[in-house]
Structures are given as structure tokens and as C-alpha cells.
């Protein structure tokens, strides 16, 4: 079983990224999600000051109305 299928809706990544400005923080966030194999993501929160940015990046696994991966037999195709 792919453990991700049991995520009810989304994964939030709360972290602090060392970056020079907010834009760079956005790009790094996107890169981070791509490197984790998440294509459907949002940057929920970002605030940059000083050495970096506090971020909350959200990767959606199940959006409302989807055929949910956590329903029996509901595993999504890749």
C-alpha cells in the first residue's frame, strides 16, 4: 500500500528556508515539492525576512470531489 493514499486531503510542510528573498523562497518551495514527487501543491504561507522565509507548503493528495485514494479500491493511477 502506498502510505500516501491514506492522507485524507493534503500534506503540509512547515519549514524555514534559507533564501535571499520571497521569490527565491517560492522557487525553492516548488523545487522541494517536485523533488518529493508532489505536482499538485500550493504555497499556503510565505514570509521572508533576514536570512530566509517561513513557509507552509501544501501538497494535495485528495481534493474534494476526487475519487478518494483512501476509499477501498480507490487508489489513484500514478
Amino acid at each position: 500500500m502506498d502510505a500516501k493514499t491514506r492522507v485524507v486531503d493534503a500534506l503540509d510542510i512547515e519549514t524555514f528556508l534559507i533564501c535571499k528573498n520571497e521569490e527565491e523562497g517560492r522557487r525553492i518551495s516548488a523545487g522541494l515539492m517536485e523533488s518529493m514527487g508532489c505536482s499538485d501543491f500550493d504555497l499556503v504561507y510565505i514570509h521572508h525576512e533576514g536570512i530566509g522565509a517561513r513557509v507552509r507548503i501544501r501538497a494535495y493528495v485528495n481534493r474534494p470531489g476526487d475519487r478518494y485514494t483512501w476509499l477501498e479500491g480507490g487508489e489513484k493511477d500514478a
Partner: protein, 347 residues
Amino acid sequence: MKVLGIAGTAKNTGKTTTTMALIETAGIKSIPLAVTSIGLDGEEFDQVTGLPKPRLSLPEGAYLVTAERCVHGGTAKLEVLQELRAKTPLGNLQLTRVNQGGRVLMAGPNNRRDLNEAVQNLEGKGAEFLIVDGALNRMAPLAGTDVFVLATGAARSSNLATLRRETEVLVRVLQLPRGIPGEKSAHSYLLTEDGKRALGTDSLLSRERIKKIFKNTGEAKKIYIKGVLTGEAFSELNRSLTPAGCQLIVSNPINLLLGEDLQELAKALDNWENRGGKIGVKFDLPLRAITINPFFPDWQERGRFYQPRYVEEDELKNAFQSLGVPVINVVREGGERLWETVISREN
């Protein structure tokens, strides 16, 4: 001292790269230079896209006009020779001399009059050229320069067909001929058989305004527009009067390019000329070259950031063939070629 303006069609079209190529070539040729910007240049990251910007370095002996708060913003050692009257959001402009070469931060005059002040104060200092780096898509402050270079590329549009079409319009307008010399009027006017009539406004920006002003106009012989004429207003003008036998003079070509839709402008120009109208400018613009840049910042809606991307260089170059103006990819073809094209002709 000759003033050389480098205007762009958008952000990231390569203005600073073009500027830097000219600075480097001047350095090799030991030609004394002065430099300034109508925006902000030399920072590490773009204020809008957050992407890295080309840095700007000046050799010892060069002159730089920059805002007070930028004087110590680089690694070059600058000596402030004079404070100018012109103000910017980053403090008053300072005329400086580079005492030790290095990176500079450059925020210069944001309008034509302040640029003129800088030019006047630089005269006689020994610089042969003043290079004025543009900002964004802003061109108006550069209208009075002696040499004009237009930087464009994928950052304006990554669709090369669109880019080509648009550049054709730009070249056509920027190369409009000078009208009858001696136009001395301080305001826009309309000349008909009944005589000369002031338009009451220097700029024609909307259809409504045109409709109002040109209602029941007889046969027009000449229209002089001191301010802006947008494509939208121009198309309405075509409807309001008969172009045949009429000469339309706009003070400078840039004032025709400030509307929203360049294609609308192109159609209006066609319509005007096809129906026998003449068009010219009071002050022409010495467009010497177009520089092209394959880079473009690609906006990512998801995540809301810009991704650096490039179009294929050869395709870009092909799209710009036979425009009637030399087209140079500065990064690939080098500063020497650019210098030969835009400057050597001046001397």
C-alpha cells in the same frame, strides 16, 4: 558627448546585458564613458521577478549618475563630484566618478528633464558617451537620445510569431520619417481650410475624446500632436476624418507606442496610409540596432513564482530576419559587433 539610450520592450529583454557589453567594449578601446539608468540596475535580484539580474561593473575613470542611497551600494569606490537637483525614491541624484573599478548600483533620472540635467552636468567632463540603461518597457525618458537601441526577446513574448509581428510595428513606428521641419507650436492643433485650431488637449488617448474634438471637422490638412496618440484614438481618427491630403505629425515616435494594443496601432497606420494620409514625427529616433535575448521569466501560477526559461536561440534569430535594422544577440555575438553597429557609425 553622445547619449545612447537602451530601451526594452519588457523586463528581462537584455537591456543591462547590452549596456554591460558596451561598457566592456569601451573599456577595451579605452574610450571614456558615463553611465546611468532610468530605473534601478546592478542589484543582485530583480525587484519584480526575484530572479538573479546581470550585475553591472564600471572601470576606474568612468562617470556614473546614481541616487544617493546607491552610492555605496556596490564594490566600486565612487567619488561624488556634484549633487544634482533631480530626486528619486532613493535620494537625490549624484554625479560621481569611479575611483576604483567594481560593481555599482545604479538608480538614475526617471524622466527626460532629469536626464537632461544629468547630461548637461556631464558635458565637458571627458566622457565620449553616456549610456542610459532603460527600465522595464519604459521608453519615454529616452526619446531625445542620439543613439537608440531597442532590446527585445522572449521576455516580451515567448511566442516568436507574435514577437516578430510586434517588433515589425515597433520598427515601423521608430523609423517614421521627420515631418516638415520648423514645427514650432507648443500645443497640439488641427489645420483645415478654415485655419488653425488648437485641440484643447495635447494627448489623444481615447475614442470619446477624438469623437468630441473632431466632430464636424472639414478637410484636414495637418494635425500636430504634441503628446500621446494611442492606437485606439488613432483608429477613431481614421473614422472621424479623411486622411487623404492630411499630414499627421506626432512629436516623437515613442508617443505613438504608449497605447495598450500595438496591433490596433498597426491597423490604424495601414488604414491612414492606405487612404492617402501622411504620417511623420517632429523628432525622429535614431534606432541603430535591436538586441535580442532568448531568456524569459515563466510565471508559475501554482506556487506563484517565476521560473527562468529560454527559447531556442536560432529560432529567435530567424524570427528577426530582414527587419531593416541590425539584429544582434549580444551574448552570442559579443560587444564588439554591437559597438561596430551602433557606435562606430556615429564617429
